[in-house]
Symmetry: C2
Subunit: 220 residues, 2 copies
């Protein structure tokens, strides 16, 4: 919780791009690239170079003309912002196919993001361990999350059951929820929910593909 | 490809919300709700009612004051836009944990979205069938996609191998790609790529949770 105050000056749109910037800068650094121009970086990550320059200006890094940006410096700044040195302990709720996939992957390229416990209602799963993660009874979700002081959960349970579970985990202190069910959850104002709805993503993609993306069909 | 011209007048931001609107309207309709006011709908889907009214006005549905919107009419309009009556045949590339989860689920609540074939390089998987979907050799991906006239693929292969696969499927006629690897793909201008990067989503969520979302911490 170290550097909270300063971040309040970063626009939300910029904040959303930080994880992407951070990831690409780390790749560059690992490849030995220590300086990058906004135009080159723009091509790499497909964000307009003017946006990149504006975003980076919020971090006191203006990028000298003809020189570009200092990669290790930006990595340090973004690392502080994302608190990537601090472990985030995550609970996963719902050990179906998607839940199992997430446990098996467990953000392996990001050592600070860790699913440390999982929950399900299926008696055949409870007590089992997948990729080192113990599966606990969903009935104990509030109790265990409170004891472990976990504030982030990933939800991969069907929409119909999600709200009931959410109410208990919010009461137990959870403030950040990544939810794979499409139905909107009711949460207090201090709780952040991010929805990942694969069906909607796919429908949107197909819709764009069929309607916007074929130059020969454009009539305007 | 019936109703393409008219859709060009819908703003992109509106278009992005159509799948969500459609899904909720269907739920309402199934529950017997035939009329809905923008304020009620706003509470349900957590989009401002002014945005909903502006969006719906693009579809010639202005919502009479005190009456609300006609649910079956909007469903019909959105159904036409999303072409939900037409089957979208999808290829899944990469049958790891996430790929298996997607095949097993196979958008079961959306009868028009169908994964019809999957590809992998693992000899132990090739020839197998999961949830009725045959797993083919990744070496044959271009050939089979061309033969089957598939234009949409879901990619769940590691970043390092993605570009090579993409080049072959694009050559075979694919124009819409849902990609679960974070690294940006090089594609021609007529190809649409949607990235789903779970690590970035989670980092963004945690960042917001720690920096923006606790009223007691706000200093401004």
């Amino acid at each position: 919780m170290g550097n909270i105050k300063k971040n309040h000056t970063i626009p939300k749109a910029t904040a959303k791009r930080i994880p992407l910037y951070f990831r690409y800068l780390k790749t560059l650094d690992q490849s030995g690239v220590k300086r990058i121009k906004s135009k080159e970086f723009s091509k790499m990550i497909q964000i307009p170079s003017a946006t990149i320059r504006r975003d980076f200006s919020h971090f006191g890094e203006l990028g000298r003309s003809g020189y570009g940006y200092d990669v290790p410096y930006l990595i340090q700044v973004f690392s502080n912002i994302l608190n990537t040195e601090i472990e985030k302990r995550i609970a996963l709720i719902g050990v179906g196919n998607l839940g199992k996939a997430l446990i098996n992957n467990n953000f392996r390229n990001n050592t600070n993001l860790n699913i440390v416990v999982a929950f399900d209602a299926n008696p055949e799963l409870i007590g089992q361990t997948i990729n080192g993660v113990q599966i606990e009874d969903i009935e104990k979700v509030g109790e265990i999350i409170k004891k472990e002081a976990i504030s982030t959960v990933i939800m991969t349970v069907p929409s119909g059951k999600a709200q009931e579970v959410i109410d208990s985990v919010v009461e137990a202190g959870v403030t950040a929820i990544l939810n794979f069910a499409p139905r909107r959850l009711r949460v207090p104002h201090n709780v952040q929910v991010q929805y990942i709805d694969l069906t909607t993503e796919l429908q949107t993609l197909i819709y764009y593909d069929e309607n916007y993306n074929h130059p020969e069909l454009e009539t305007i």
